[in-house]
Amino acid sequence: MSWFKDTLTSSIGRKLIMAITGLGLIGFLLVHLIGNLALLAGDGGISFNEYAHSMKGSPVILIGEVVIFSGFLFHIIDGIGLVISNKKARPVSYGGGANAKTSTGSKIMGPLGIVITVFFILHLVDFFYRAKIADDLGLDANNIADLYALVVEKFQSPAYVAIYVVSMIAIGIHLNHGFQSAFQTFGLNHLKYTPIIKFIGTAYAVVVPGAFAFIPLFFYFTK
């Protein structure tokens, strides 16, 4: 199995781990968003709470959660490792500035990753932990945990909404580069399809984080 280890620890292999986990997480975002849209049903949270309730207890969901958490973990750890070895590759930096012509998003993937990780932890503590682990939420009209009330309460704070929106912008920029970059890492590059991939990546990076950011803004401004 040394070939397998060699592959995944090579520079290209480590990029492959970033690409595979990255695309997985991008897919997860869409699933998460579809669930969140229930917040906008306008029924006082009945359907959102039902959806949140259905996310508890089933082994399928549990497996999904383990996969998603490992995805995050591998993506973050591998990302940090790459940043460290990439920094080591240039121990002395340029005195005259590095003005090389490049795309901006790609240059700040690391810093964006830090913003997203901080948001991710905050988000887990605020919602995932309360709903799934502490399980200390009040009950709604249907006698199920009222996660909706918690969400609405959080989205009344302007600071919280601001953090949420800024984090979504960071995710958008991160995805815009990450999506097309993953295909480049897989070697899937083609005159016909690369422009389509780039377009889909950019559209996704605008629409999905945009929709995520819309929800807290909606609650804040319609309270």
């Binding site: 520079s11 002395v92 090389a100 795309s103 890492t185």
Partner: protein, 250 residues
């Protein structure tokens, strides 16, 4: 034209080095960048100072020796040329110009602006060749090759191994260079026999030399004097994944 030059001076590999400022006067706008440094060096020698060490050879843009990082760009501000093809008319009178060596742990500085790029040679030695049995040369048209493939292989082969890609990359990655050298052979039938071992060995050597990994930023290609496309990096990734999954090298 008059300039203020801020040049990296470093006595040797062990020295830490620093920038030294040299004013220079009455340079013709038609003089090349290297000629300007020649003039400065003559003045330094007359003053009894140590001239600035820099690499150069062909001075016509084909050998890839003239590695200089000028005002934040490998080979200076113009596109698709090497330092030796850069002329002072590309600058404004009175400009201050910063000149540094390539910065990469895999390219240690030997002296001043001269770096040791033999890491590239070792990558080539790891697989950048085809083995051909001796005997009579066969007819050139024996092996039909589609024109588009030949063109792409040739585009990749225009890489002069100057190292500007490494210098430009924020990760000091050598993937553009290595991928060009993998591609020029992967695209041709003659390269197929050793294709899998080639990409595996060249990537392994590239990693061993301490170059960074690619972030798909594209600085390498933007700064490459030969305009090598990062399409080659995708091809190398493809070749690498294919080789790792199917070669018998366990």
């Amino acid at each position: 034209m008059n300039f203020t030059l801020k040049i990296w001076r470093q006595k040797g590999a062990k020295d830490s080095g620093q920038f030294v400022t040299y004013p220079i006067k009455d340079i013709s706008s038609d003089s090349s960048f290297l000629e300007m440094i020649d003039i400065l060096n003559n003045q330094l020698v007359e003053k009894g100072e140590e001239p600035i060490a820099f690499d150069h050879d062909c001075r016509e843009g084909i050998c890839g020796m003239c590695s200089m990082y000028i005002n934040g760009h490998p080979h200076g501000p113009e596109n698709l040329i090497t330092t030796c093809q850069l002329h002072m008319r590309s600058f404004k009178d009175g400009d201050s110009i910063t000149i540094e060596p390539w910065r990469s742990s895999a390219f240690p500085v030997i002296k001043d602006l001269v770096v040791d790029r033999s890491a590239f040679d070792r990558i080539i030695q790891a697989g950048g060749y085809v083995s051909v049995n001796t005997g009579n040369a066969q007819d050139a048209n024996n092996i039909p090759i589609p024109k588009t493939d030949a063109d792409k292989a040739f585009d990749a082969a225009t890489c002069i191994g100057c190292g500007a890609c490494v210098a430009a990359c924020k990760n000091a990655s050598a993937m553009l260079f290595t991928s060009a050298k993998v591609s020029q052979l992967a695209l041709l039938p003659q390269g197929q026999v050793e294709a899998k071992a080639r990409v595996e060995n060249m990537v392994a050597q590239m990693d061993k030399e301490g170059f960074g990994a690619c972030t798909n930023t594209g600085a390498c290609s933007a700064e490459c004097p030969k305009g090598i496309s990062i399409e080659n990096i995708a091809r190398m990734n493809r070749e690498f994944i294919k080789a790792k999954l199917s070669s018998e090298n366990v």
